[in-house]
C-alpha cells in the first residue's frame, strides 16, 4: 500500500519548468555568502583552539575598537608573539594586534587578547572563549554567560563554550558535550558503549559537528545524531561548509605509524583523498575554501596552503614560533 501510494503520487506530480530568474537570484545570494566565508581568515578551526584555552580576565585593553581589514589572500598567524598576516606571495606583514586571532568577520580581524575580544563594531571584556561564524561572533564571558551570534539574547550557561557556528554552539560540562540549536539541545555521545571520552577538539561547520575524543574523530548532524567517524586523524580542521575534514598526522601519530600525508575526508560521501605533506602536522585551518597547514620540520615551521588537493608551501619560519593560534 505504501509503495503503491507513493508511486501514484510521484507519477501524478506535474513538474513545473525551471524558474531560471529565481534560480539566478539564489545563486547570486549564495555566492555573496561564500565570498564572506572565503574572507573568514583562519576561521573556525583557529577559533576552536582559542576556545579550548581558558583565558584570564582583562589585564590590558585596547583604547578603542580598531578596524583591521583583511588583505587580499591574507591569513592571520601568530609570529614572534604578535598577530600578523601571512600573504600568498610568502611575505608577512603586521596587523598591529596582539593576542590570538579568532577569525575574520565582515572582512576584518577578530582577535582575543587577555580577555578582550575585539572585532568590527565589537569590544567585550572578561571574555574566555570566542568563535567566528559567517553571521557573527559567539563568545562566553568569564561568568559563563554565552552571547550567541546575531540578535539572540545572552544565555546563562553552566558549561564551557567549546565551539560555535552560525546558529549553533557546543558546550562542555564535565566531559559531556551538548549541542545547542534553534530547535533544541542535543547530547553528543562519543562513547560507543556508553562510556564517555574527554574531547580534545570540537568544531562546527554549517550543520556538521566534529568531535575528536578517545583517539576517534566523530561527526554529528544538527540533531546530535552521530553520522560517522574514524580512528586517528585528530589533528585536523572541518571546513566552514561542513563538507570536508582535512587532517594530517602529528608527531605522535607519525611515531605510531599513521599513514603520512594530508587527507581530505568528504563528510558526505565518506571518501578520502590524500596528497603528499612533509613534516609533522601542528595545526590546520580553513580560509574559506583554502586550507592552511602548519608543519614542523626539524627546527623550522612550514605553512602550506592548499586549493582543493593542489598544495604549495607559503612560508618557512626559521624561528620555530609560527602558529595559527
Amino acid at each position: 500500500m505504501v509503495t503503491k501510494t507513493l508511486r501514484e503520487v510521484r507519477d501524478a506530480v506535474e513538474v513545473p519548468r525551471i524558474d531560471h530568474v529565481d534560480f539566478a537570484a539564489r545563486t547570486r545570494r549564495l555566492r555573496r555568502r561564500r565570498r564572506v566565508l572565503q574572507a573568514l581568515g583562519a576561521g573556525a578551526a583557529v577559533a576552536a583552539v582559542v576556545g579550548a584555552v581558558a583565558l584570564p580576565t582583562v589585564l590590558r585593553a585596547p583604547d578603542a575598537i580598531v578596524a583591521t581589514p583583511v588583505p587580499e589572500g591574507g591569513v592571520p598567524v601568530v609570529l614572534d608573539g604578535a598577530i600578523r598576516w601571512a600573504h600568498s606571495d610568502g611575505t608577512v606583514t603586521d596587523t598591529e594586534r596582539s593576542g590570538a586571532p579568532v577569525g575574520v568577520l565582515d572582512g576584518e580581524l577578530v582577535s582575543l587578547d587577555e580577555g578582550v575580544l575585539t572585532g568590527p563594531g565589537l569590544r567585550a571584556e572578561d571574555v574566555r572563549a570566542a568563535y567566528v561564524a559567517p553571521d557573527g561572533v559567539t563568545y562566553q564571558d568569564a561568568d559563563g554567560t554565552i552571547h550567541p551570534s546575531g540578535d539572540r539574547p545572552p544565555v546563562a550557561a553552566e558549561g564551557r563554550l567549546v565551539a560555535a557556528g552560525d546558529d549553533t554552539y557546543v558546550t562542555q560540562q564535565t566531559g559531556t558535550l551538548t549541542l545547542h540549536t534553534e530547535a533544541g539541545t542535543y547530547g553528543l555521545d562519543t562513547g560507543s558503549d556508553g562510556a564517555r571520552s574527554s574531547p580534545s577538539a570540537v568544531e562546527v561547520g554549517a550543520d556538521v559537528v566534529m568531535v575528536a575524543a578517545g583517539g576517534v574523530v566523530h561527526f554529528f548532524d544538527d540533531e546530535g545524531a552521530r553520522t560517522g567517524g574514524f580512528l586517528g586523524g585528530l589533528t585536523g580542521a572541518l571546513s566552514p561548509d561542513g563538507g570536508t575534514y582535512a587532517y594530517a598526522p602529528d608527531e605522535q601519530e607519525r611515531a605510531r605509524g599513521m599513514r603520512p600525508g594530508l587527507a581530505f575526508y568528504d563528510v558526505g560521501t565518506d571518501r578520502t583523498q590524500r596528497v603528499r605533506l612533509d613534516g609533522a602536522a601542528l595545526d590546520l585551518a580553513w580560509v574559506g575554501d583554502r586550507l592552511v597547514v602548519l608543519t614542523q620540520r626539524g627546527d623550522e615551521r612550514v605553512l602550506t596552503q592548499c586549493r582543493g588537493t593542489s598544495c604549495g608551501e607559503l612560508l618557512t619560519d626559521a624561528t620555530g614560533t609560527l602558529s595559527l593560534q
Binding site: 501510494t5 510521484r10 548532524d221
Partner: protein, 159 residues
C-alpha cells in the same frame, strides 16, 4: 558534465522526490531551487559528479527537516488530493488516507520511506543517499511504519 546538463537531466526526478518529501508544490519547488543553487555554487568542488544527485537529495532532506522543526508540526494545505483515483473507490480512499498520513510524518522519516519504498533503495543505499548511518535508516523506517500503523487502524499497511 556541466551543472546545466545535470540540472536539466535531473530536475523532473528531483522535483518529484521533493514533492513526495514535503507534499506541497510551492515548498517542493522552493526546496529544490535552493538545493540546486547550493549545488551550483559548489559544482567545481564536487569531485564525484555522480554523487551530485545524492547531494541534492540530502540537502533537501536537511532543509525540510529544519523547516519542519521551526514549524513544530506541519499543517496540511487545503489543496485537492494528489492521489490518482484508479481502481475501486475503497482502495483509492485507503491510498488517499495513507498519503495523508505520510504527509504528516517528519521529513527524515518520510525521506527514509520514500527512498526505501518508492526509489527501491537498500538500507545501505538509502543511508548513503541521505548521509546517515544504516541504523538511522532502519530506525526512521521502523518508526514511520509504526506511526502509519497507529494512525491507520482501519487500513492494512501492506508494503
Amino acid at each position: 558534465m556541466t551543472f546545466e546538463e545535470f540540472m536539466a537531466a535531473r530536475w523532473a526526478s528531483l522535483y518529484r522526490f521533493a514533492y513526495v518529501l514535503v507534499g506541497d508544490h510551492f515548498r517542493a519547488e522552493d526546496l529544490l531551487q535552493e538545493a540546486m543553487a547550493r549545488t551550483c555554487v559548489r559544482w567545481r568542488s564536487i569531485r564525484d559528479k555522480g554523487a551530485a544527485e545524492a547531494y541534492v537529495r540530502r540537502a533537501m532532506v536537511r532543509q525540510a527537516s529544519r523547516a519542519w522543526r521551526r514549524r513544530d508540526r506541519e499543517t496540511l494545505v487545503g489543496q485537492p488530493p494528489d492521489v490518482v483515483q484508479v481502481g475501486n473507490v475503497a482502495e483509492a480512499a485507503d491510498r488517499q488516507a495513507v498519503w495523508d498520513e505520510v504527509r504528516r510524518l517528519p521529513p527524515r522519516m518520510r525521506a527514509a520511506l520514500v527512498l526505501r519504498y518508492l526509489e527501491g533503495m537498500s538500507e545501505a543505499e538509502a543511508a548513503e543517499a541521505l548521509g546517515v548511518g544504516v541504523g538511522s535508516i532502519k530506525s526512521q523506517t521502523h518508526h514511520a511504519l509504526k506511526r502509519l500503523r497507529a494512525a491507520m487502524t482501519e487500513v492494512e499497511i501492506v508494503l
